[in-house]
């Protein structure tokens, strides 16, 4: 049987790599087109747990799946101040304030998404 895939680098490999990188770039740039958000929606296990307006400083403690998170709002940005989950990706994500940007903590099942404010934007996320 003839081997259909050739085992040496060909032009199309470069095309595939470029296409994937381009997709990554586009997905990265998309949220930057949106302006600042007004509210941070905190969800635990997919259910909305709290809405923190970004114009006032606040702090919120969450306990879920045996992990503790401290979510804080400061100077119009929301971030995870402290977390005791294993990888602490949520903490490393840092401050977010753009509409559609988000922080995710997989072990604790918590997401924080910046929304525009108002009622029906909970499901609006670009990314």
């Amino acid at each position: 049987m003839k081997q259909s895939v050739q085992p040496r680098f060909r032009l199309f490999d470069g095309v595939v790599i470029a296409a994937v990188l381009l997709a990554a770039l586009l997905l990265f740039l998309l949220p930057l087109l949106y302006g600042r958000g007004q509210v941070a929606v905190v969800r635990v296990n997919g259910e909305e747990a709290a809405r923190l307006p970004l114009n006032e400083d606040a702090e919120l403690h969450i306990e879920n799946n045996g992990y503790h998170l401290t979510i804080a709002v400061e100077n119009g940005a929301v971030f995870v101040r402290e977390a005791d989950c294993p990888d602490r990706v949520c903490q490393h994500t840092g401050k977010i304030s753009k509409r559609g940007s988000s922080i995710v903590c997989v072990p604790a099942g918590v997401t924080v998404t910046v929304g525009k404010g108002g009622e029906n934007d909970a499901d609006f996320v670009a990314g």
Binding site: S4, Q6, V20
Partner: protein
């Protein structure tokens, strides 16, 4: 060469798949010794050594067997090192990657080498994992990680593809011959 009865060849197939599964699990274990996630602190960032084996089985042995080995690997790895959640993540990733392998075999394979195939499969794997996260969280928030994960996929897929390109002339024909024995 002595001819084999159907029962004989079936037994051989089971044994070969079991051997492939063991090798895949060994690669999964090896990966935990080089935690790439220390470099890039995101869940789901792995070198994907086991994917070298899955792809090799897919193209040089039998696509169906590759699917079986992949599914079993994900299940056993979840039992050994993971949880129900991690199983769901890996299973979605593996399923997407498997579908892309079929796409490559039927359409793209003619135009590219194993590097293109692996990069595409790795990207599909990440998309699958993000899809799992989106389903799990009922929120599109995890999609924010997709750009980073896609860049990682280019690197890890590139590495596995490079390895496959090196292996192809040495291993492909042997595995194909083994298929008919």
């Amino acid at each position: 060469m002595p001819t084999l009865s159907r029962a004989d060849s079936r037994t051989r197939r089971v044994c070969r798949d079991a051997a492939f599964l063991c090798a895949a699990l060994m690669f999964s274990y090896l990966e935990t010794m080089f935690p790439l996630s220390l470099l890039i602190p995101l869940p789901g960032v792995k070198l994907g050594l086991a994917n070298v084996l899955i792809t090799a089985v897919f193209f040089w042995y039998s696509p169906l067997d590759a699917g079986i080995v992949s599914l079993l690997r994900v299940s056993v790895a979840a039992l050994l090192f993971g949880s129900v959640t991690s199983f769901f993540f890996s299973a979605m990733g593996a399923l997407c990657a498997y579908l892309v392998l079929w796409l490559c075999r039927l359409v793209f394979g003619r135009f590219c080498s194993y590097i293109g195939v692996s990069v595409l499969a790795a990207a599909a794997h990440q998309v699958g994992q993000i899809t799992a996260a989106v389903i799990l969280f009922f929120s599109a928030a995890p999609m924010a990680y997709l750009p980073v994960l896609l860049c990682v996929a280019v690197v890890t897929g590139g590495v596995t593809g490079f390895v496959l390109n090196l292996l192809a002339p040495r291993l492909a024909d042997r595995m194909k011959r083994g298929r008919n024995a």
